[in-house]
């Protein structure tokens, strides 16, 4: 039995992305692993979607495919009106660069660069003039409350502060979609809440967010929760408004 989801995004907004019967199969010499198995998923502009499920259920693969870090084995993936399944790597890189910001569980900041430089990195590949880069980095640092740490290295920050830098970096290029892979996984409760509140605020300002999480309480911040098991979407429910 396949529970097909065909709900149009909330408030009837335009679709940001749409997946139809999308699969991702990993092959090695001896083993074939189906990580995603016939996924149907739509995300509308301005939504905040949480993906939940046990370890190995395919949440992260789904997030990677959404983020175009991985390509589907079959099926269709339309992003912002363009079919992206089957695009070349450099096309995908270009698409990704213009549309998507990432937040990782392990922050993934470059140890050798300062907070400011880490955030700026996201603009370096966008041909943004230096002055504008500076202004935009200042702006997002203010937004996530990390401006006073601009000259510090990641190793000098707490986990929560590091994740705020990562959020700032995801925001600075003004992406259409923010993908967060267990953004609170490496944080204690207080810092986790802090990051979730920040994401919620961003969503309220209009950002579209897809987040993978293990924590039901953090999933509650999202407008819609997608539950996965063994590569399939089991059930979705929308949080009561």
């Amino acid at each position: 039995m396949k529970e097909v989801d065909s709900i149009v995004g909330n408030e009837g907004n335009r679709l940001m992305l749409s997946m139809r019967e999308l699969s991702r199969v990993y092959r090695t010499d001896t083993v074939e692993t189906t990580a995603l198995d016939g996924i149907f998923l739509d995300v509308a502009d301005g939504e905040f979607v949480a993906i939940m499920g046990p370890s190995g259920c395919g949440k992260s693969t789904l997030l990677n495919v959404i983020g175009m870090l991985d390509s589907p084995s079959s099926g269709s993936y339309v992003f912002n009106g363009t079919e992206v399944a089957g695009l070349t790597e450099s096309k995908l890189a270009d698409f990704r660069k213009r549309n998507i910001g990432f937040i990782f569980q392990s922050f993934n900041l470059v140890d050798e660069l300062t907070v400011r430089e880490n955030i700026e990195l996201a603009l370096l590949y966008h041909n943004v003039p230096a002055a504008e880069r500076r202004a935009r980095v200042d702006e997002v640092m203010d937004k996530v409350g990390i401006a006073h740490r601009a000259k510090h290295r990641p190793s000098q920050l707490s986990g929560g502060q590091q994740q705020r830098v990562a959020v700032a970096r995801a925001l600075v290029a003004s992406p259409k979609l923010i993908l967060a892979d267990e953004p609170t996984g490496n944080l204690d409760t207080a810092h986790g809440e802090e990051v979730m509140k920040m994401l919620q605020a961003l969503n309220a300002e209009g950002s579209t967010i897809v987040m993978v999480t293990h924590s039901p309480s953090h999933a509650d911040y999202a407008g819609r929760v997608v539950n996965m098991l063994d590569g399939r979407i089991l059930v979705e429910h929308r949080r009561a408004a």
Partner: protein, 832 residues
């Protein structure tokens, strides 16, 4: 415990093959280079040490320094009389012998063949230099007219070495003389400055009865003098006493109004036999010597290569430390002490050194024979004994193993187990080690770049030496030797005339100076208004020389057979009457541009018509007025190492040493035709002739061999440096995987990443250039100054070396960079 260490060590190597290969192969190359150079250096230092009592045997040398031009020439040869005088003045000297090389003609059964390294000795040479003998004993040369041959020379001449008591006939100065063979020498090993096929005891004063001047001439360095000191005598004391002896022993001479002393321009030295080969004096040597600088340079290059291999080892070991961090932490948690860990890692590096040494020894066995024949050295790989490489091999393994392993060992054993295990960290690096690695890479590349520059400049100079315009047409010349034989004293003109008629011959001329001929003849020329004579080379030629040599006249005219004043032929043996007649009438000479300048004429044309007085005959008979009739362009007859000679050409019909034949036909046929002409005139003097190309190749043979050896070692150094860079690039690419992943997620393209990595590795190379350039410039300037004709030290080799190094480095890291840049970033970012 040790078994566990060995197992872990070998598995750690097997796990990362690239790393193991770079370490082992790099070290093996460094060790091979080191051992090869060690063999070579030892060989060069072993010269003449094998002669019993070599510490007591010395060579008397005469070092020349012109007071006029400051030009120096340190000769191993010395005048006959100086040996006798030194022997009589210093009681510490037990015995003395004079040796000269006359290359007599060997005559047997009516067949005349030329000889090589047949030395006249005027006493019992074996008393002074006790060479090992196969037959006979040290008294073999006790009598005049006795001779000894080396074993192989005896076999060559007689078919057997059982020739004691037989008679050997040698033709010298036109006279056939018989010598009794009284001993057979062991063939001399190559590591001797002596070149001996036969030693022949003659009564030297009687032999030179018709030219007795040579026996008392203080300016004629035409033989070698060896002295043996009494046991315990101090050579330093004799050396210190030589200046005072010069003042006492050397008489003033007068030539016309000019008074001079042969001691003014010469200093005498006694040099121990063991130091002759590498000594400062290399002029007039029996065999080509070597210089200490070359030996030291080779040794330094070998150590640099080894050092670079050790640096690779250290670099890669610390770079990869993170991969061993967990093992270290575990061992510590299980109770290992820091000392045990240090021992473990040093042990591992010794294992690597041992494996590398085994490969190095195999390479050595393969490479030493060609290397030895290339350098014409007698190199042998022996493991045991005083000359064996057993100890150095052991030492090298330990030094390399410990040196390469110590730093990584301390570095690795420092990890705190708690933080490594808990944090699941991979970047457990302290920032300092990255800087150390960069510094080491910079040093490696500075060395490589320096070596590339040196190689390029040495190569450029080698090519230049062969191709520099010598001032005459060097191609298509056949140079005929042996004309100075007594039998041919007045046959030169006839030979030249007949040779001109050989088909394919354009011109032929007689001379005493030709392509790389080694005789040097100088005389003093009095310039009006100057008290001291000017030293100018004096060489006898005939009218055909200019055309045959392809030289250019820049002013005046060349000799003309029709003008009596152009002809300055004197009879031989010398007669005082005709010498006086010449001094009274004078003669015409042609000089070169340099001589014109030395005589005071910047414009050669202004020298034409001037008359000077030159020492051309016995000094006591006065000076000869000579009038310059022409000036020729400067010609470089000798090696580019030697300064250009100022030359005065004198036209004579007799007394030449060479015939220069210019041809345009088939070389082999021309040579055969010339040989027929020669054989038609004499059967007593063997025909010896060489093409100029061959002479030039021989002239620069040793230099070319050294240049090529240097280039080979430079290449080796570069390969080792690149191996290191390759390993480091692999490691860096691996270590920066996460960062690269982040950059890719943020939109970096493959080429952005490649550019990023290329730049990271270009920076140290640019810094290395800045270090290498001035050092190489300074060293090469000194080296080039050894040459009289040399290339300019332009920026090209420096820029070229920098670019080559950069290209090699980028080429080396490109594969890694591209692979990493292409990898899917998810894997890099998922876990830390």
């Amino acid at each position: 415990m040790w078994r566990n260490y060995v197992t872990v060590g070998i598995r750690a190597l097997a796990k990362s093959r690239t790393y193991a290969f770079i370490n082992i192969f790099g070290l093996a190359m460094g060790m091979t280079a080191c051992l090869m150079i060690l063999l070579y250096v030892r060989y060069e230092l072993s010269y003449d040490r094998w002669i019993p009592g070599s510490d007591r045997i010395h060579q008397v040398q005469s070092w020349y320094k012109s007071q006029e031009t400051g030009q120096e020439a340190q000769l191993q040869m010395t005048p006959y009389i100086s040996g006798k005088s030194i022997r009589d003045s210093f009681p510490q000297i037990e015995s003395e012998v004079y040796v000269s090389n006359n290359n007599p003609v060997f005559s047997r059964d009516g067949q005349a063949t030329s000889t090589e390294d047949y030395l006249w000795v005027d006493g019992n040479f074996l008393d002074v230099v006790p060479l090992p003998m196969v037959r006979g004993d040290a008294s073999a040369l006790g009598q005049v007219n006795s001779a000894v041959l080396t074993q192989s020379e005896a076999r060559r001449r007689f078919g057997t070495d059982d020739v004691i008591g037989q008679t050997m006939t040698l033709i010298t100065r036109g006279v056939a003389r018989d010598f009794r063979i009284t001993g057979i020498l062991q063939d001399l090993p190559r590591n001797s400055h002596f070149r001996i096929n036969s030693l022949i005891r003659i009564d030297y004063p009687a032999y030179l009865g018709d030219t007795p001047d040579v026996l008392t001439c203080w300016g004629c360095q035409n033989g070698w003098v060896y002295v043996k000191l009494r046991p315990g005598a101090d050579a330093g004391a004799i050396e210190a006493g030589l200046p005072a002896w010069e003042d006492r022993a050397i008489p003033d001479e007068t030539a016309g109004e000019a008074r001079f002393n042969a001691g003014d321009d010469q200093d005498w030295h006694i040099v121990n036999l063991e130091d002759v080969h590498l000594g400062r004096a290399q002029g007039g040597a029996m065999s080509p010597g070597n210089d200490r600088t070359t030996i030291i340079t080779f040794a330094i290059v070998a150590l640099l290569i080894l050092g670079m291999a050790v640096v690779n080892f250290t670099n890669l070991a610390t770079a990869r430390a993170s991969q061993r961090a967990r093992e270290v932490a575990l061992r510590k948690a299980l109770g290992a002490t820091r000392r045990q860990l240090v021992m473990q890692f040093v042990g591992e590096s010794i294992i690597v050194a041992v494996v590398a040494m085994l490969i190095a020894l195999a390479l050595l066995e393969l490479l030493v024979p060609p290397f030895a024949s290339f350098l014409e050295a007698d190199l042998q790989v022996a493991y045991l004994g005083a000359d064996g490489i057993g100890l150095p091999v052991l030492g090298l393994v330990l030094v390399v193993g410990i040196l390469g392993g110590l730093y990584p060992a301390f570095f690795l054993s420092r990890f705190e187990p708690a933080s490594v295990l808990k944090a699941n960290k991979s970047s457990s690096e302290t920032p300092g080690t990255g800087r150390l690695r960069s510094a080491l890479v910079v040093a490696q590349f500075a060395v490589s770049i320096g070596l590339i520059i040196c190689t390029a400049i040495i190569y450029g100079q080698t090519v230049y030496a062969r191709t520099v315009d010598p001032g005459f047409r060097r191609d298509h010349i056949l140079q005929v030797d042996e004309l100075s034989r007594y039998q041919l004293l007045d046959k030169g003109e006839m030979l030249a005339e007949r040779m001109r008629r050989v088909p394919g011959v354009e011109a032929a001329g007689l001379t005493t100076i030709g392509v790389a001929t080694d005789n040097q003849n100088n005389t003093g020329v009095m310039v009006p208004g100057r008290p001291d004579p000017v030293t100018i080379g004096i060489y006898q030629v005939d009218e055909g020389f200019l055309g045959a040599m392809g030289m250019e006249l820049v002013a005046g005219r060349w000799f003309d057979a029709a003008r009596p004043m152009d002809d300055m032929t004197l009879p031989y043996p010398p007669e005082p009457a005709s010498q006086r007649a010449l001094a009274a009438r004078g003669g015409n000479i042609v000089i070169n541009e340099l001589a014109a300048r030395r005589l005071g004429f910047e414009d050669p044309a202004r020298a034409v018509g001037r008359t000077f007085r030159a020492g051309l005959i016995q000094n006591e008979l006065g000076l000869v007025p000579v009038t310059v009739i022409g000036v020729v362009r400067d010609a470089r007859f000798r090696s580019v190492r030697q300064p250009m000679d100022p030359i005065m050409f004198q036209n004579t019909n007799t007394g030449h040493s060479n015939i220069i034949v210019r041809f345009n036909g088939d070389p082999a046929q021309v040579r055969a035709g010339i040989e027929r002409v020669w054989k038609g005139v004499t059967t007593e003097v063997p025909f010896e002739a060489e093409f100029s190309d061959g002479i030039m190749a021989e002239l620069y043979e040793a230099e070319d061999a050294r240049a090529q050896t240097f280039a080979a070692f430079a290449m080796l150094a570069i390969v080792v440096a690149c191996l290191g860079l390759f390993g480091l690039a692999a490691f860096t690419a691996e270590r920066r995987t996460k960062e690269i992943g982040i950059r890719k997620v943020l939109g970096a393209r493959t080429r952005d990443i490649v550019r990023l990595l290329a730049w990271q590795f270009s920076k140290p190379i640019i810094v290395a250039n800045l270090i290498a350039w001035p050092v190489a410039w300074w060293m090469m300037r000194d080296w080039l100054n050894n040459f009289d004709a040399r290339i300019d030290l332009g920026p090209a080799p420096f820029v070229l070396a920098g670019l080559i190094a950069l290209a090699i480095a980028i080429g080396t890291i490109a594969t890694h960079a591209i692979r990493v840049a292409r990898a899917n970033p998810i894997h890099a970012l998922r876990y830390e």
